[in-house]
């Protein structure tokens, strides 16, 4: 079966590009895969089904959605909140009407009026101020013949948005753990946080929680790895909290090998966020593979992690206090850290195994390409057999047969 694969790929620096670099070699062993060149708007001739990786970043994904609109196919929904993507593909292309229509389609007249407000610069851009309230997934879902998601959160969101096609839940694949020497950045406990340093990664709350931890454990160190967002003043926050320089180690962008080394060298991995766009986290998957205990926000996909592998911090007024308590627990209980780490490594091996993930992808693609024909054939045969013995389509018996078919997902 020929599959056209649309995705960002390295050297683009996006999580989806890294994801595809991992997935493509495994998927190639199961289907006849053609990776489509960036910017192409058509699938190659003879394609049975096209696979489109869609995330919220218009720079990385707008060309893919353009291709999707030309030819419907299976969509991998890496984010559920797509407002930024939609804005980029409408407002960003001087297509104000497109933005108005997208907002009206999903949020009615109120949505259209709000969109007018944005276009007229009367209110702040919604993709910056309230994207989760106006996720706009239908912009993409209306063209999807099937959807692949990484979490029940996104699956439920797609269903709530009215999508009725097949939805496959496929876990994020885990990278093979490279043989690297752990890089310890300090002697004492090291708490690592990997990703962009900004407010939505809850860095202010993490700093607030780390300050009391540092008082109890003076040799504890916070390792922040990732670029600082332009509007985020890390220095000022550190000064205000009185965190000494020795308590913090900063690394901006690091390459893949260094990332693994630093991850391998931490004792606890913190990965917080709010708001969530429905995304998964490659850093969390890597940390699980390495057997690191996790502290995450109790939102979206992160909430779905088993309690045995992650302490979950609700996003509310007590967030910093709960976070501090979680860090204190892990700092003082090596046995808890080890037990969580073991559970995490087992979860990565069991649920996020690359071969298994690729197999689920192949299943979703094959069902999308040929499932309708199979369903029609089954319905035709069962209906004919029922009609042959005088069962009327409107009768109770036919209803019972339909229920039994639905139970085992035949005929749809």
């Amino acid at each position: 079966m020929k599959v056209a694969y649309f995705s960002p790929l390295p050297p683009e620096r996006t999580g989806v590009a890294d994801y595809s670099a991992l997935l493509v070699p495994a998927l190639e062993t199961k289907v006849d895969l053609t990776v489509v060149r960036r910017g192409s708007r058509r699938a190659p001739r003879g394609t049975d089904v096209a696979l489109y990786h869609v995330g919220n970043n218009p720079d990385a994904h707008a060309w893919i959605v353009d291709a999707l609109r030309r030819r419907p196919g299976v969509v991998v929904l890496h984010d559920f909140v797509l407002h930024h993507l939609v804005a980029g593909m409408t407002v960003g292309r001087r297509d104000g009407h497109g933005y108005l229509d997208a907002m009206e389609h999903e949020h009615g007249v109120v949505g259209r009026l709000l969109a007018h407000g944005v276009l007229d610069k009367r209110i702040a851009p919604l993709w910056e101020s309230r994207p989760a309230d106006f996720p706009l997934p239908w912009f993409v879902l209306e063209h999807a013949t099937g959807v692949i998601v990484h979490s029940t959160t996104v699956r439920d969101g797609a269903r709530a948005a009215g999508y009725e096609g097949p939805v496959s839940l496929v876990p994020h694949p885990a990278w093979p753990v490279p043989r690297v020497a752990p890089e310890r950045v300090a002697e004492g406990l090291v708490v690592g946080c990997f990703g962009v340093v900004n407010a939505s990664k809850r860095i202010p709350e993490l700093l607030e929680a780390f300050a009391p931890l540092r008082q109890e454990h003076p040799d504890a160190t916070l390792l922040l790895v990732g670029p600082t967002a332009p509007a985020f003043d890390l220095e000022r926050r550190l000064q205000r909290l009185g965190l000494p320089e020795s308590g913090l180690v900063r690394e901006e962008w690091v390459d893949e090998v260094r990332l693994w080394r630093l991850l391998a060298g931490v004792d606890v991995c913190v990965n917080l966020r709010h708001p969530t766009m429905g995304e998964t986290s490659g850093s969390v998957i890597r940390a699980l593979s390495l057997g690191k205990p996790l502290v995450v926000s109790d939102v979206g996909w992160f909430s779905e992690l088993p309690d045995a592998v992650a302490l979950k911090v609700p996003v509310d007024e007590e967030e910093s206090d709960v976070l501090a308590a979680a860090l204190e627990l892990l700092a003082s209980r090596e046995d808890v850290r080890e037990a969580m780490g073991r559970s995490g490594a087992e979860l990565a091996r069991r649920e996020h195994d690359l071969e298994r993930v690729a197999e689920r992808y192949a299943a979703a693609l094959e069902e999308a390409a040929g499932g309708d024909a199979v369903n029609e054939a089954v319905l035709r045969d069962v209906s004919k057999a029922a009609a042959d013995v005088g069962i009327s389509p409107a009768g109770a018996e036919a209803g019972e047969i339909a229920r039994r078919l639905a139970e085992v997902e035949l005929g749809r």
Partner: protein, 341 residues
């Protein structure tokens, strides 16, 4: 308890599952249960018949029979476990292997078209749903349990079943190697014939019937095995016990077999089992130089192994006796205690 044992039936075919399920019913009755066998014909081709024929099981009402409640059902192999019941236990003999590990091989069924690929996925989806409904899930071997876990994520307890009841005995370590199996390609009986062609002193007896018989007989003629390869066809229980009793060893080397009763039967007759390193389930009880010989799946290796057994009959006897000790552990009392517990 009232217990229904569920078995798909391929008309005119008879094999290990039939023997197993008949015996299961008999053993349940012997312990005071009201047990009966429920069978539905199964044809898995062409096209979507594999789904529509399977669906017949879903339409059955097995919660009651003749006004009395059925306490539990024991499903065995695809597609019998599609049946609905609040206490559905599955003692899995095998899934529909053409949709899994046989796909893409000469033993596979589904082609490369989009519809055929989707059809295969539908079979897999049926398994996930129907097996996921089981209140208890057992597999006849580790091999079957591992396949299930890989394909559906479902975990099954390994529960081997005892072999059929025969008058097992060891009369001698005679001249011939015995094959007991259905005659189809997956059972790889041609490998034994090729081994006999390489060693003019090797005699074989092939017991069993199946669609591959004509090809195998033709192969035997081409290789000049007249007189050294005897096709015994379907034999009676008495004849089979006699063959087990007199053979030198038992050959059993299907490709990635689920498990099979034959190694247990051979062991109860104190005979070593000759198998190959890719045979799958049999390797769970056949250990090289402990209960049999495990060789590479090549005729020359097999011929050499059979020759070694002929030249070392005392060792062959001790391998067989070691196997008997393993087989003696697998009893109906123990199996049913777990199945019904």
């Amino acid at each position: 308890m009232r217990i229904a044992v569920l078995r798909p039936q391929v008309p005119f075919a008879w094999g290990g599952t039939e023997i197993f399920t008949d015996r299961l019913v008999s053993e349940l009755r012997g312990r005071g249960h009201e047990a009966d066998l429920v069978t539905v014909p199964f044809k898995w081709y062409p096209g979507t018949q594999v789904l529509t024929q399977s669906f017949l099981w879903r339409l059955l009402d097995l919660e009651e029979a003749d006004g009395a409640r059925v306490d539990l059902v024991v499903a065995t192999k695809f597609p019998s476990y599609l049946a609905r019941h609040p206490n559905k236990r599955v003692w899995l003999v095998h899934q529909f292997r053409q949709a899994y590990e046989l796909d893409g091989t000469e033993l596979g069924q589904f082609g490369d078209s989009a519809e055929e690929r989707a059809l295969r996925r539908k079979v897999q989806a049926l398994d996930r749903i129907a097996l996921g409904e089981a209140t208890k899930l057992f597999a006849t071997s580790r091999n079957v349990a591992d396949r299930l876990e890989r394909s559906t994520g479902l975990e099954a307890e390994v529960l081997p079943h005892p072999p059929q009841g025969l008058d097992y005995r060891c009369d001698a370590y005679g001249e011939f190697v015995l094959s007991v199996n259905r005659l189809d390609r997956a059972k790889r009986i041609d490998l034994l014939l090729e081994a006999a062609a390489l060693d003019p002193s090797l005699e074989v007896v092939v017991a069993g019937e199946g669609p591959d018989r004509e090809r195998l007989e033709s192969l035997a003629r081409e290789r000049g095995l007249d007189g050294r390869a005897r096709f015994a066809g379907r034999v009676s229980p008495e004849e089979l016990a006699a063959l087990y009793g007199q053979c030198l060893a038992v050959y059993y080397a299907p490709v990635d077999e689920d498990f099979g009763m034959v190694p247990f039967e051979a062991f109860l007759a104190e005979k070593p089992v000759l198998t190959t390193s890719d045979a799958g389930g049999p390797l769970e009880i056949v250990s090289d130089r402990r209960t049999g010989l495990v060789v590479a799946p090549e005729a020359s290796e097999l011929a050499r192994a059979a020759g070694w057994l002929r030249a070392h009959r005392d060792e062959a006897a001790s391998l067989g006796r070691a196997g008997k000790a393993i087989a003696a552990e697998v009893t109906w009392d123990r199996a049913l205690e777990r199945l019904l517990g």
